[in-house]
Amino acid sequence: MNEVDPKDVGTNADAFERFYRAHYERVTRFIARRVDDPYTAADLTAEVFLAVVDTAHTYRPHKGTVTGWLYGVARNVVAEERRRRGRDLAAVRRIAGRRLLDAEGVARMEERIDAEHAARRTVAALAGLPERTRALLELIAVDGLTVAEAAAALGITRVAASVRLHRARKTLAAAVEPEPAFA
């Protein structure tokens, strides 16, 4: 695979374009699994690629795949947006994604958002879990990452991810089991 070296992505427009075309769909899908408004999705897509450009030089191959790293970046952007919303803070955006949306762009974004309807329900269902557990489960159950990729995205070891996952399974099982039978 002619994977672009992320180190070049922040400094070379052609390298960036190759990276962008290879990962655009992955990023917009990731966001559509968490956001149901096409304008916010456009803003966040722009934010993710800006963050990619800003942090490309920090990518370390030994810490995981490019995909894992990219999901980590995307997750940080979405988490930052949630935090900001929780505090009612307006975002300072360098590129306002929504301004780049025309009717066709909105329609394409809405298609993705519609297609990810079930995934957003899963994300919402996980909302009550502790943050660390939720983040890991989201990446594995909702985004389809492997445990190793999810660990890389969260900056934790694979062992730590497995331990967290094991505990989460126990917690979820305990939450589901005591359901009383209907008379």
Binding site: F49, L50, V53, A79, V92, R94, I95, L154, I156
Partner: protein
């Protein structure tokens, strides 16, 4: 159907990257936090701190009766504070590397040969004490650190209306410890202070 947004964003992003090519150093952090200039002190080690004139130091280091060392920090500290803090810990016989990171920052690893299982945590060596009104307290038991070993202590701090410690990452290294090269790490949402 053609994705016009994809193409429009690509054009905007290409411009961004081309502009950056001409830019000497990355300045995104400043732009990124325009709305939060007052909290820039928590942005990390790379930011030069502005000490308050005539005020008490942002930290205190004291020996407890049982021989443990109590570190008390009242506000976000800068690299100079941390150097002084490390010197004070050395005075108490403890070799330590202390770094202060923003939320979403991490030190590039490996920076040292660590001893012990990283997933088991620091155990009895290090405790975060229940938060007091005027800052954060930690207790270090230096008897768990042998001669030639160094305490590697990375404190992650949330930016916000007020700074808040998210967590302390504590390990023991054998031999030398490289300086922290800041890289992006996981961002903690809704940090629970005092961890």
């Amino acid at each position: 159907m053609k994705d016009t947004f994809q193409e429009n964003l690509l054009v905007a992003m290409r411009e961004e990257v081309e502009t950056r090519e001409a830019r000497p150093v990355r300045s995104h952090r400043r732009k990124w936090t325009v709305a939060a200039a007052a909290t820039a002190m928590a942005a990390g080690v790379g930011v030069v701190g502005v000490p308050m004139l005539g005020e008490a130091p942002a930290y205190a280091v004291d020996r407890e009766p049982d021989g443990s060392i109590r570190v008390h920090v009242t506000e976000a500290v800068d690299r100079a504070d941390l150097d002084a803090l490390e010197a004070k810990l050395r005075f108490f016989g403890l070799s330590a590397e202390v770094d202060w990171l923003g939320n979403g920052q991490d030190c590039a690893e490996p920076r040292a040969d660590y001893v012990g299982d990283p997933d088991l945590g620091p155990g009895a060596l290090f405790q975060s004490l229940p938060g007091e009104d005027d800052g954060w307290d930690w207790l270090i038991h230096p008897e768990y650190i042998a001669s030639g070993q160094t305490l590697v202590w990375e404190v992650q701090v949330a930016r916000g209306d007020e700074w808040a410690v998210i967590k302390s990452d504590v390990r023991v290294a054998e031999g030398s410890v490289a300086p922290c090269e800041i890289v992006s790490g996981p961002v903690t949402r809704d940090p629970e202070p005092g961890n």
